[in-house]
């Protein structure tokens, strides 16, 4: 406390003497929250992966890589992101087109790009960062709130990559990319009239989407959500087993490693997309509430960072990245608990899996960069 008080006093001068954290461009509070959730996630993962230490080790290594990415992204000045935004966007779009042409993948979806000399990667994953950057770059050049013309262009910049990602097909990622871009438009001051109009349009468009855009398996997922019992051993299986796992957990859960639904293999994807059911089964309502509380604290901290960002680009980007993180959580938990159709969205910081963790931590790195590169122009 003493040291901090001293530094506050000193900051009233021309330049604020940077603490160690500040020099590292790390926000310690956000880092602590992320580490707590990630650590708790490893404990749940150990159970969800059927007491497999190997899975925990692999995940821990991914966290190492992801935190390294966070650290690197935190070092760059937001101005750098802003300057690079258009070029990254063009490169990302090229990547998405390349995926559709020469991409590799499995199960009828092409998502990966294997370029010589580079590790295999998913351009769509990168677009989760690049699309909000591009939208923020564009809108921050305009007077805010934006005029209708600028809104149309910004939305177009978002819909273009979304459409390409849907072609892969990868509904989950395209929704996240789209959400990230749209949050930028919203934060920029999209008029409430347009927002209301958009949702009204969505209401009209939904039936048309159902008939002309959605694929059969996607329709099936929606139908299954409405009535899982119609196909209890097929499409309804996942949702029945996950709600059963959650419900049987009760107030305080069956205890760590004691979840019968997951350990007896009734719960599918118990260490990836459906891991929150393992948490709810073994740690109960209290465990789930604790997790949501931790997520809420992270979101609060990030919104605080966004609100205190110094320029529009940083603000819009920080706000959009924060809300993307929120969308991850809502879509995943909503899906597992039977409120939303099954969409392949992992639970951030907890689900087993590589690419999304790195993207996510990179986004937090950008947030930290925004927070720690503020210029203290006081007085």
């Amino acid at each position: 406390m003493m040291g901090r008080a001293a530094s506050v006093q000193a900051s009233s001068g021309l330049q604020r003497p940077a603490s160690l954290w500040h020099r590292l461009h790390i926000d310690p509070l956000l880092l602590l929250l992320l580490a707590l959730v990630a650590g708790g996630g490893l404990i749940v993962l150990y159970s969800g992966a059927d007491a497999s230490m190997a899975a925990v080790r692999a995940q821990a290594i991914r966290f190492g890589v992801a935190f390294a990415a966070l650290f690197i992204f935190a070092q760059l000045d937001p101005a750098v992101y802003r300057r690079w935004s258009p070029w990254l966007y063009v490169a990302g779009m090229a990547g998405l087109v390349a995926v559709l042409v020469v991409g590799v993948g499995a199960k009828g979806a092409q998502r990966w790009l294997a370029l010589p000399g580079l590790p295999r990667f998913q351009p769509s994953e990168i677009m989760k960062l690049v699309v909000p950057m591009m939208a923020a770059w564009y809108l921050s050049r305009q007077y805010l709130p934006p005029r209708f013309r600028h809104v149309v262009i910004a939305v177009g910049l978002v819909l273009l990559p979304m459409g390409l990602i849907i072609q892969q097909p990868d509904l989950g990622t395209s929704l996240l990319v789209g959400a990230a871009g749209m949050f930028v438009v919203f934060f920029a001051g999209l008029s409430w009239k347009l927002i209301t109009g958009f949702f009204a349009l969505l209401g009209v468009a939904a039936p048309l989407m159902w008939h002309f855009v959605m694929r059969d398996y996607q329709k099936q997922r929606v139908l299954t959500l409405l009535d899982p019992q119609s196909d209890p051993l097929g499409a309804g299986w996942n949702i029945i087993q996950s709600t059963t796992a959650i419900g049987s957990g009760g107030w305080s859960g069956k205890g760590w490693l004691q979840g019968t639904q997951s350990h007896l293999e009734f719960l599918p994807e118990s260490h990836t997309d459906f891991i929150v059911a393992v948490l709810a089964e073994e740690f109960g309502f209290l465990g789930l509430a604790t997790l949501l509380a931790a997520y809420t604290l992270i979101i609060l901290r990030c919104l605080y960072i966004a609100a205190n960002a110094q320029d529009s680009f940083s603000r819009l980007l920080a706000g959009a990245l924060t809300m993307t993180f929120f969308v991850y959580i809502v879509v995943n938990i909503g899906m597992v608990s039977g409120l939303l159709p099954v969409v392949g969205v992992p639970l951030p910081l907890i689900s087993y899996g590589g690419t999304s963790i790195v993207t996510l931590m990179s986004a937090f790195g950008v947030l930290m960069a925004i927070h720690t590169h503020r210029r203290m122009i006081t007085a």
């Binding site: 709600t243 049987s248 007896l264 929120f326 809502v330 608990s337």
Partner: protein, 628 residues
């Protein structure tokens, strides 16, 4: 800052902060909905989902009871349960199927047929992680070699099942019956709950009659299984109630003796203890090895058995319906005496033939030239046909039918042997009903010497003789002597239904018994040769059953007739006369004469049993001293 200079940064910041607050509200609302959803699932509907979760993982599995064992009267085990080991594979756990099968074929003697069947099953749709059988009934050596090499063979398991085994093989196949796999028809009859885990059911004989007692009651196991149906642990268990062990009246030593006596022949022996009705030997020769039927007999083996000219599958003792021939003469004599048709002093003249009237057909006596003057006692001792022709015609079919019914003919008077046939005791009504013809006097002539329509099984002949030995007292033949368990015998043994055959003058029984004693010991008794050298007195009656009938004046020459067309040799008897302890009926198919072939067999049975009665009961080794 090339751009943004002219922008109202403060207003933009305020705008953003307002929007951020809206988003914060969205976060609170949506997280609130999630929390509400989890509260609904985990707190409000917790019970429901706990039930579903338990139903998911906990399965109730039935545990079949162990079938009761069967012992003979001396405690010799005659039906046991043997663990049969088979090799099963879980394809999902087998790494390299071809290599594994090759290795197993090197370790065990697995036929190509087994492997082909296994591969066929492998192609069929099935539940994952389900065990597929490859090879049944491993030898001890194979079990040992599997135990040694099992760790090299992932996914290969040796599983055990208790299967019925009859140590004496064909000796008891007709006496005990056997069990076999439950078939579709039986599935509809049995209690599906109690038989939930049972694969075998009594198909015939004692195994079938006492199925309920032998089977026991099914137990349950609550087991935790995973989504693939693999059992992980047993949570709770209600043990099955094993079937009760049965003790039969059968004496394996006597049973063995019966098979020895009929070796190389076709025939049947039924021996009953007249004091309690216990069936002490029940032999139908040739027999078959019932063990083959338990796990399922191969088509070739079954064809060999069913097409054999010796009919090993045919239970002659219970289901062989033969003309009883002269063996029923003592019972008819009793009928004649009690109905007043004849007296003990009544004599007739036997010229060697019998005519209903002067112009009628001549019914021949077996003895050319006849027996001269004969009374009832001599008529039985020497088996005079003419006396009984006359008696039969005088009594008429109704009286004969009435008395012979009292001896158990024309019905199944056994309590629990299972599958015994009733034979055929003809009557006026029967002939009218079956043939739409009146009863002719000639029919009575035939009936009086046990020919014509009259058919009886060896079991019925022994039963009727038992009634004579007991001087009219009925004890119905039975297999079950005792239940080793809580159930009292009376609860499982069917109740007796036959009433004692009471006659006006009880001394008539002694007269009939005397006549049968004369058969064995009289100077002209037809079976006197068979009784020679005995230190006890016995009673009997010989008989022959014609396989085809002779024309009126035809001569019978056994030498000329092919063996298969020779008469069946019959004999019934009991011993000792004054305190009967064994009743025997013998039939030797195509054996020729009752006195020459069947009577010595009965004598040997008397000797064996009476000697055994004086010695300690012994348990026979199960090593299978069965007859080939």
């Amino acid at each position: 800052m090339a751009w943004g200079e002219f922008k109202d940064t403060a207003a933009e910041r305020r705008l953003f902060q307002r929007r951020a607050l809206v988003m914060l509200g969205l976060v609170v609302v949506l997280f609130g909905i999630l929390i509400g959803r989890f509260y609904q699932l985990q707190v409000i509907e917790h019970e429901t989902y706990t039930t579903i979760s338990d139903r998911n993982r906990v399965q109730v599995r039935s545990v079949p009871p162990t079938r009761g064992l069967i012992y003979d009267r001396n405690g010799t085990l005659i039906a046991e349960n043997r663990p049969v080991f088979s090799v099963t594979l879980v394809p999902e756990r087998v790494g390299n199927m071809d290599a594994t099968l090759e290795r197993l074929q090197a370790l065990l003697t697995i036929s190509e047929e087994d492997v082909e069947r296994f591969r066929r099953r492998l192609q069929e749709p099935r539940r994952p992680f389900q065990e597929l059988p490859l090879h049944y009934d491993l030898t001890e050596q194979e079990i040992a070699s599997m135990a040694v090499h099992r760790h090299e063979l992932p996914g290969v398991e040796v599983s055990a099942e208790l299967v019925r085994h009859y140590p004496f093989g064909e000796l008891n196949s007709h006496a005990l019956g056997y069990v076999g796999r439950v078939n579709r028809e039986e599935l509809q009859r049995i209690d599906p709950v109690n038989y939930a885990g049972t694969n075998y059911i009594g198909k015939s004989g004692v195994e079938r009659v006492y199925e309920e007692t032998l089977h026991g009651r099914v137990g349950y196991e609550h087991v935790e299984t995973n989504a693939r149906g693999r059992t992980l642990r047993v949570l709770e268990r209600e043990n099955p109630v094993p079937g009760e062990d049965l003790v039969l009246h059968l004496d394996m030593r006597l049973q063995q003796r019966a098979f020895e006596l009929l070796e190389g022949r076709r025939g049947a022996i039924v021996a009953i203890d007249p004091r309690d009705g216990g069936i002490i030997a029940l032999a139908s020769v040739p027999g078959f090895d019932a063990n083959q039927f338990v796990t399922g007999i191969s088509v070739d083996n079954y064809r060999a058995l069913s097409e054999s000219r010796d009919k090993p599958l045919f239970n002659r003792a219970l289901r062989g319906q033969y003309p009883p021939g002269s063996t029923i003469k003592p019972m008819l004599l009793m009928a004649g005496l009690d109905s007043g048709t004849v007296t003990r002093e009544t004599t007739i003249w036997d010229p060697g033939y019998y005519q209903i009237n002067d112009k009628g057909r001549r019914y021949r006596d077996w003895k050319r030239g006849g027996h001269g003057w004969v009374d009832g006692r001599r008529a039985v001792a020497e088996s005079c046909d003419i006396y009984f022709y006359d008696l039969g015609v005088e009594m008429g079919v109704d009286v004969m039918h009435q008395y012979l019914s009292g001896f158990g003919f024309g019905m199944d008077a056994t309590l629990d042997v299972g599958g015994a046939l009733p034979g055929l005791l003809p009557s006026r009504d029967w002939k009218r009903g079956m043939r739409n013809e009146p009863w002719y006097t000639g029919d009575s002539v035939n009936m009086s010497i046990g020919q014509g329509f009259f058919l009886a099984t060896p079991m019925q002949l022994a039963t009727a003789t038992l009634v004579v030995a007991n001087r009219g007292g009925w004890v119905q033949p039975r297999m079950l002597k005792d239940v080793r368990g809580d159930t009292p015998l009376d609860d499982v043994l069917p109740p007796e239904t036959m009433e004692d055959l009471t006659v006006d003058n009880h001394d008539d029984w002694e007269f009939v018994v005397d006549s049968m004693e004369d058969v064995m010991h009289g100077p002209r008794g037809t079976a006197r040769g068979a009784a020679e050298g005995a230190d006890y007195r016995m009673a009997g009656k010989t008989g022959t059953a014609q396989v085809f009938s002779l024309a009126e004046d035809e001569e019978y020459d056994a030498e000329e007739i092919r063996e298969r067309l020779r008469d069946h040799a019959l004999f019934v008897g009991f011993a000792p006369v004054d305190d009967p302890r064994i009743v025997v009926s013998v039939i030797v198919e195509n054996g020729g004469s009752g006195s020459g072939t069947a009577a010595p067999v009965a004598r040997a049975m008397f000797d064996a049993w009476l000697q055994m009665q004086d010695s300690e009961p012994t348990v026979i080794s199960q090593a299978g001293e069965a007859q080939p």
